[in-house]
C-alpha cells in the first residue's frame, strides 16, 4: 500500500488553523456550560444547546478530521446516511409521545 507516495507533499496545514479551532472549541464548550449555569429553560435552552452542539461537532469534523479539505465524494458518502438517523429520531419522538400518552390517558397508570 504505497498509494500515498504521490501525494505526500500536500497533507499538512498551517499550525494557526489548528490553534484557532482549538480555541473556538474551548469557547463553545464554555458557552454550552453557561447554558446550564444560567439555568435557561424551554425553547431557549434547546436552541442554544443544539446550536453549540452542532457548531462544535462541525468544527471537529471539518478541521480536526480534515473533512473540510476532503473531496466531496467522501463528504457526501459520510453525510447522506444521516438522513436515516434523522428519520429514526423524528419517528421516535412521535413514538415516545404516544407511549407517554397511553400511559397517562387510559385507565392504566404508569409503565
Amino acid at each position: 500500500m504505497e498509494e500515498t507516495k504521490k501525494q505526500e507533499q500536500t497533507t499538512t496545514h498551517k499550525i494557526g488553523i489548528y490553534l484557532w479551532i482549538w480555541g473556538l472549541l474551548f469557547v463553545l464548550s464554555f458557552f454550552s456550560y453557561m447554558v446550564d449555569w444560567f439555568q435557561f429553560q424551554g425553547l431557549l435552552r434547546w436552541t442554544l444547546i443544539l446550536i453549540f452542539m452542532f457548531l462544535k461537532a462541525g468544527l471537529i469534523m471539518a478541521f480536526f478530521m480534515h473533512l473540510f479539505w476532503e473531496r466531496y465524494a467522501l463528504v457526501n458518502v459520510l453525510l447522506w446516511p444521516m438522513t436515516a438517523i434523522a428519520c429514526f429520531i423524528f419517528l421516535m419522538v412521535a413514538e415516545f409521545q404516544y407511549t407517554l400518552f397511553t400511559r397517562l390517558f387510559y385507565f392504566f397508570i404508569g409503565g
Binding site: M1, E2, E3, T4, K6, Q7, E8, T10, T11, T12, Y18, L19, I21, W22, L25, F26, S29, S32, Y33, V35, D36, W37, Q39, R45, I49, L50, F52, M53, K56, A57, I60, M61, F63, F64, M65, H66, W69, E70, R71, Y72, A73, L74, N76, V77, L78, P81, M82, I85, F88, I89, M92, V93, E95, F96, Q97, T99, L100, R103, I109, G111
Partner: protein, 236 residues
Amino acid sequence: MSDLKIEGYEFKPGYRGMAEDTGSAQTMFKGVHWGKAMMWIFLLSDTFIFSCFLISYMKGRGSTPVEWPNPSEVFALHVGGVDVPLLLIAIMTFVLITSSGTMALAVKYGYEKNRKMCGWLILATAIGGLTFVGMQAFEWSKLIHEGVRPWENPFGAKQFGSFFFMITGFHGTHVSIGVIFLFIYAYKTFAGHYDERKRGWFTSIKGDYVEIEILGLYWHFVDLVWVFIFAFFYLW
C-alpha cells in the same frame, strides 16, 4: 485534501468533481489512503451505534411518566461549600478537547516527518485520554456511592442509571481502547517505525505516517461523540 495531484487526473472541485471522481476508475475517494477510507466508513458505522444508543435513551426518557432526575444537580460537585453544577463534566469536556487538539497537531507533525514532536504530542494525547477515563471512574464511583445503579435510582426514573452507565460506559470503552492504541503508536513513532517503514506486527503492512492520521480520526470521533453525550445527557 485540497491540493492533491494524481498523474494524469485532473481534480475538479465541488459536486462536478464528485461526479467525476465517482465516475472514474480505480478510486472513488481520490487520493484517500485505503486505511483512512476504512476508518471513515467504520466511524460511520460506529455513529449508527451511538445514534441507536442515544435514540433509545431519548425514547426511554421521553416515555416514562416518572420524574427524570435533574442532571445539573446530580452531577454537581461540592466545592468550597457550594454546589457547582456539572463541574466535573465541564472539566472532562475541556480535557477531551485539549487531547483532541494535541492529536490534531500530532497528525500535522507526523506528516512533516517531525518524529520527536509527533511522538510527544501523541503521548500528551494519551495522557489526556487517561485523565478523562480517570475522571469518569471518579464520577461513576460518586454516583454509585449515592445509590445510583443500572437497575435503580434513588432520584427518580430507573432508566436514568441504566442509560447513564451504558452510554458513558460504551463511550469510556472507546476512550480506553483509544488510549491503548495511542501508547502503542507513541512507541512506534519514537522507535521510528514510520520513518523506516517497518512492517506492522500482525498485518505486515509497511508503516506510514498516515496511520497516525487514521488513529487521529478515531480519537476525534471519540471527542465528537462526547459533544453529543454532553448535550443530550448532561444539558437536557
